[in-house]
């Protein structure tokens, strides 16, 4: 336990995310407890509306829970159990997103008017890294996804798969602790999906922690651990090793 606790990246303890829509109460997350270690490769599956994206957003500090305790690398992001409410403020959350999290979205979310290189540089700008170093890191990151020759292209001049690779390069550029990919292949055909999944596999093999949301069992298979979500709760949490055993 003591040895392992050093390796724990994310710790969820009875996390709720509740929306109040007039009289209606929606528990997008309904008591989730979860531990994610360094260098894990996890798929999250579940029907539409089950709370997968909500979970990802909370892990990625884009959203905050309405109840429960969330620790990230043993820092308390929020503790809403006791009488005393502990919560990081917006700037602290932004800093975690900037330094520790790499997001990959289904819809890519690249800045349309910026070049591939400028898009990859974006997190570094907010990290306050000087320009020359920024260039260098962004180029290196683009090289990793094989798009160095497209550095000056705008997103509109790139294919869907290339756009997603730029997004992955952007997610990687700050050497984050974890990469969160919410249906990264949702907008891509199966051929391109395969290509993207190869990148994610490779990232994992280079000691990155990767969490992936997907509807497709084929894609989920890439991960060593598959978590099923149903109605805001963890339905099952299976490691490949367990399956083999």
């Amino acid at each position: 336990m003591t040895v392992d606790s050093n390796n724990v990246l994310i710790n969820f303890n009875d996390i709720y995310r509740t929306y109040y829509m007039g009289a209606e109460v929606i528990n997008a997350l309904n008591g989730v407890s979860l531990e994610i270690r360094k260098n894990e490769y996890i798929s999250i599956m579940g029907p539409s509306g089950s709370g997968k994206s909500t979970l990802m957003n909370i892990i990625g500090c884009l959203d905050t829970p309405t109840a429960g305790v969330y620790q990230f690398e043993s820092q308390v992001v929020c503790d809403l159990t006791g009488d005393s409410i502990v919560k990081m403020n917006d700037n602290e959350l932004a800093k975690i997103r900037n330094k520790k999290i790499g997001f990959v979205f289904q819809t890519f979310n690249l800045l349309p008017r910026a070049t591939a290189l400028q898009n990859v540089e974006l997190p570094l700008i907010y990290a306050g890294i000087p320009k020359s170093e920024r260039r260098e890191k962004a180029m290196y990151s683009l090289e990793k996804v094989g798009l160095l020759d497209r550095a000056t292209h705008k997103p509109s001049e790139l294919s869907g798969g290339q756009r997603q690779r730029v997004a992955i390069a952007r997610a990687l550029v700050n050497s984050p602790s974890i990469i969160l990919a919410d249906e990264p292949t949702g907008n891509l055909d199966s051929e391109t999906s395969k290509e993207i999944m190869e990148f994610l596999d490779e990232l994992h093999s280079q000691n990155n922690t990767v969490i992936l949301v997907t509807h497709e069992p084929d894609i989920a298979k890439h991960a060593a651990r598959v978590i099923q979500i149903l109605d805001g709760k963890i339905d099952s949490d299976i490691r490949k090793a367990d399956l083999v055993n």
Binding site: N98, R113, A127
Partner: protein
């Protein structure tokens, strides 16, 4: 910080037409303020220089006010005309008046001598013999014309230095016959160059007896002016009081009634002028100030649209770690750049306008005062900040998840 500017610049460039329309209001406002200031300033300067040339001992009398405001032209036109003999009367009777001359000069002409001619811009002055003392001019060669010349309507002329150098090179001018239009005149003297700070040369003139001037050029005496010179600048107010009472007697103005003539000094003209231009200045400042506020509202409007259009971009920026303050700055700087850009073109257009005025209007040098440029830029920054703040705050406060989900 530089990155904020760069990104703001790029986003404005990518909406060229929209940005251009937005800054139109700023541009017009700044242009109006700055060019108006320069014209007013140029006007004031030119009046001041022209008037300063007359010194502090001289003052003027005529039917019409020096500067006419309003529409009561008729009232002044009905007043009795001045006669050149009034100048003789005042000079002889006035104790504080060193000299008095009558004066008419509404005409420019080409002067010819044999096969030579001057530019068509020589001012023809009709005056009395007193001209030379009231203007404190001296004769370089020959003589001034006399009262007899005026009384006998002799076709004699005293020419200014510029006319002299244009017509006579190695020749003695005195006694030569020159022509103004179809009339022949004998040159009796040449004036020394006149002191004076005006832009225009004071020496491009020809002086003929006022009686002759009236005979050939202007029978009406509407525009006749008396120029009076006090014994010294210390007694100028006594001299003016004396001139008023002597003229009231001569023109039979009943006691208690207001003067049927106007009296002014160079200083009083400058004052009236500057008062008037001050009002113009204030009015343009007010109008342009309001137009800039309206332009500011335009900026706010366009920034709100821009924030809405770029909701996803804002979400993306926040997702990769932009703090709210960073987003606030981004949009605020964009608004300020937008308005400053308008200010830059406005100032540039004002420079063009000032240049145009300086070239087209003689005697006028429209200079753009530095303070007006600084004020324009400061005011536009202020407008950008004030009207950019609300949209920028709105952008900064967006929830990242909702922003990312925005269609």
């Amino acid at each position: 910080m530089i990155d904020y500017f760069r990104s703001a610049y790029h986003s404005l460039i990518s909406h060229k037409l929209r940005s251009a329309l937005t800054i139109l209001g700023i541009f017009i406002g700044v242009w109006a303020i700055v060019s108006m200031q320069s014209i007013v300033e140029g006007f004031d300067n030119s009046i001041e220089k022209t008037m300063a040339a007359y010194g502090t001992e001289t003052f003027f009398v005529q039917k019409f006010p020096a500067i006419m405001m309003g529409h009561n032209w008729r009232k002044y036109a009905k007043r009795k005309d001045f006669e050149y003999e009034d100048a003789y009367f005042l000079e002889e009777t006035g104790q504080y008046l060193r000299s008095v001359s009558a004066y008419m000069a509404n005409r420019v002409q080409t002067i010819k001598y044999r096969d030579r001619k001057t530019s068509p811009e020589v001012t023809v002055v009709g005056s009395t013999a007193g001209f030379f003392t009231t203007n404190a001019t001296t004769i370089a060669t020959g003589r001034a014309f006399t009262r007899q010349d005026a009384d006998h309507r002799n076709n004699v002329a005293v020419i200014g230095m510029d006319v002299y150098s244009e017509l006579f090179i190695f020749e003695e001018p005195v006694g030569k016959e020159i022509s103004i239009g179809s009339e022949k005149f004998t040159v009796v003297g040449v004036l020394d160059p006149m002191p004076g700070g005006s832009f225009e040369s004071q020496d491009n003139l020809i002086i003929i007896p006022i009686t002759v001037y009236q005979k050939f050029y202007d029978r009406s005496s509407d525009s006749m002016q008396l120029m009076l010179r006090a014994n010294s600048s210390y007694v100028i107010s006594e001299a003016m009081d004396e001139a008023i009472s002597l003229l009231r007697i001569r023109r039979k103005v009943p006691p208690g009634e207001e003067n049927d003539f106007e009296l002014f000094t160079g200083d009083s003209i400058i004052d009236t002028m500057q008062n008037m231009t001050g009002y113009i200045q204030l009015a343009t400042l007010g109008i342009a100030g309001i137009s800039l506020i309206v332009a500011g509202i335009g900026i706010m409007n366009i920034m709100l649209v821009s924030v809405m259009e770029r909701t996803r971009e804002i979400g993306t920026r926040k997702a990769v770690g932009a703090k709210s303050a960073a987003i606030l700055w981004q949009f605020l700087i964009e608004a300020v750049i937008l308005s400053e850009f308008g200010a830059i073109i406005g100032v540039a257009a004002a420079f063009a306008t000032a240049w145009l005025f300086t070239t087209l209007v003689p005697d006028m040098e429209a200079v753009i005062p530095l303070w007006s440029i600084i004020a324009a830029f400061l005011y536009c920054s202020f407008i950008g900040i004030v009207f950019g703040f609300f949209p920028a705050k709105k952008a900064a406060k967006l929830d990242p998840i909702e922003a990312l989900r925005y269609e």
